[in-house]
């Protein structure tokens, strides 16, 4: 459904910042997973701001609310500066709340909201619990919006419990237009075959990967269609889950999962 001021969208990004994220990112030359993730999510935030910037001399419209949660040992909101401590911010607040603006080699602006971190263990359950609280409040106040979308990006597995029950609690809620969507992107640590948008867990041999599959929501038709346009082989009951993602697969999955 169309996002607008009356029915804004909501994205919550859960970013693994555990120590293992200091390992090299497959497909990204000389970048750690933490650096690649920070680059891509900062770029994504810029893209969401630009999607809401509709007319010159007018700030970005309130078409989205955005949450940014990092997790390692514990889970915490990643906004800082004027947005420090905020679990959710409107897109206009996010636009103004960058910590700095870098420039690439061509001089193009690159706003930055957070820097890479790789430390501690993987408290994914704590992050999911926090995300659940965020979207529960949001859905209560936005019943006519499309369902919120939570994108969890990790290179490991929860070290603070079983993430499946809390995921089920999250996806049992939603708005009048659908259940809250939870997508999972599991980054690869080796040259393993990527499994993208599976409809069954048959290709997954690891029990913890199967758990991530179970946690993941089915892709809505629009996202399935978009994934297919990008060349993915998607079935009707494909899940929002990518396993053993390299850099390219991660970018594509984030693109698909934030398509509204």
């Amino acid at each position: 459904m169309q996002v607008n001021r009356k029915t804004p969208g909501c994205f919550v990004f859960l970013l693994d910042q555990s120590a293992s994220m200091s390992q090299p990112m497959l497909g990204a030359e000389k970048k750690t997973k933490a650096q690649a993730l920070a680059d891509i999510v900062n770029e994504l935030l810029q893209s969401i701001v630009m999607r809401s910037f509709k007319s010159r001399n007018e700030p970005p419209r309130h078409y989205f609310d955005i949450g940014l949660i990092g997790y390692g040992t514990g889970a915490r909101p990643l906004f800082s500066g004027a947005l420090a401590g905020r679990l959710l911010a409107s897109v206009a607040e996010v636009a103004a709340g960058k910590i700095r603006v870098d420039r690439d080699a061509d001089g193009h602006v690159q706003p930055i909201w957070f820097d890479p971190v790789a430390s501690g263990v993987t408290h994914m359950c704590a992050a999911l619990d926090l995300a659940g609280k965020i979207v529960e409040g949001w859905t209560n106040s936005h019943p006519e919006s499309g369902p919120p979308i939570i994108v969890n990006i990790t290179d490991g597995y929860a070290t603070d419990g079983d993430p499946v029950p809390v995921s089920r609690r999250i996806t049992s809620g939603g708005t009048n237009h659908g259940s809250t969507l939870l997508f999972n992107i599991a980054l690869s640590s080796s040259e393993a075959t990527t499994v993208a948008y599976p409809s069954t867990d048959h290709a997954l041999t690891d029990e913890r990967a199967k758990a991530l599959f179970q946690m993941s929501s089915p892709l809505p038709p629009l996202m399935r269609q978009y994934a297919a346009e990008l060349g993915a082989d998607v079935q009707d009951n494909a899940r929002g889950f990518v396993y053993n993602a390299d850099l390219e697969a991660m970018i594509q999955a984030i693109d698909v999962g934030t398509r509204t």
């Binding site: 459904m1 169309q2 996002v3 607008n4 001021r5 009356k6 029915t7 810029q46 893209s47 701001v49 630009m50 999607r51 910037f53 509709k54 007319s55 010159r56 001399n57 700030p59 970005p60 419209r61 636009a95 103004a96 960058k98 603006v101 193009h108 602006v109 706003p111 629009l222 269609q225």
Partner: protein, 261 residues
């Protein structure tokens, strides 16, 4: 707005109605609509700015204004209009928003990152005799022309059923490379007119809604549109939204009545 064209045998009366997606922000209505009536002829257009674009209201307005003021009546002419507007668009896109030092980062990023796009339908009508006329229509995307005789929908162009509306329709983009079909992407239709006919140009979601009701209402929807005026149009949009058959979006209706002199 109401305009009348009188000719030897037939006259056209045009009314345009619009309604924003958000009543609290009427300036954010981002469609375009316009018409020009000459002796025995008329040009009408509606464009629907894509929600994903930048400055879409201006783009929609340029397409509509170009069609009606240049009085286009062929696919080639419409294609030339699009090519020229694409060339001119960089002036709009790259115009500085304010003094360089005061610019926000998103204003600086806009020229590089922002495209604009709109669905478009243009209509040319011509009286050919005392009680006869003809039309030609040009469309890219899912704004529709509907030709109604009495309470019967004779045709809807370019889409003819509510199920045909897709999430990603064809659009007129400000970047020509996004329209690989080029001139072939402009769809063409034509037909004959009689006094009493009604032609409707409508933005995408309204077109879809009208076709949905047409299939279920045995013509009542067309009777309602013949009688609609500004207050009743606004009430109608609110009612359709409340009913759920009209998605929340900018809404534009251009109604042309074909009348005997």
């Amino acid at each position: 707005m109401t305009t009348v064209s009188r000719t030897a045998g037939m006259r056209f009366v045009a009314h345009t109605y619009s309604f924003p997606k958000d009543e609290d922000h009427p300036a954010e209505w981002e469609d375009g609509a316009g018409h020009y009536l000459g002796r025995g002829r008329g040009w009408f257009a509606v464009a629907d700015g894509a929600s994903s674009g930048f400055h879409v209201k201006e783009w929609a307005k340029r397409l509509v204004t170009g069609f009606v003021t240049q009085r286009l009546d062929s696919s080639d002419a419409v294609q030339n209009l699009i090519v020229k507007e694409c060339e001119r668009w960089s002036e709009v896109r790259d115009a500085p928003a304010r003094e360089q030092l005061d610019r926000q980062w998103w204003e600086e990023a806009a020229p590089l990152r922002q495209d604009t796009a709109a669905a478009f339908v243009g209509l040319y009508v011509e009286a050919t005799g005392p009680r006869t006329g003809k039309f030609r229509a040009f469309a890219v995307g899912d704004c529709c022309l509907m030709h109604v005789r009495g309470t019967t929908l004779l045709m809807s162009f370019p889409l003819s059923s509510p199920e045909a509306f897709a999430q990603n329709p064809a659009l007129v983009y400000s970047r020509p490379e996004k329209m690989p079909a080029g001139v072939e992407g402009i769809q063409l239709s034509s037909g004959q007119l009689r006094p009493g006919d009604m032609l409707i140009l409508a933005s995408d979601r309204l077109s879809q809604c009208l076709l949905w009701h047409s299939a279920r209402s045995d013509g009542a929807v067309w009777q309602a549109l013949r009688a609609v005026n500004r207050p009743s149009f606004e009430s109608l949009v609110r009612a359709l939204r409340s009913h759920g058959s009209l998605e929340v979006d900018d809404v534009t209706l251009l109604r042309i009545a074909v009348l005997e002199e």
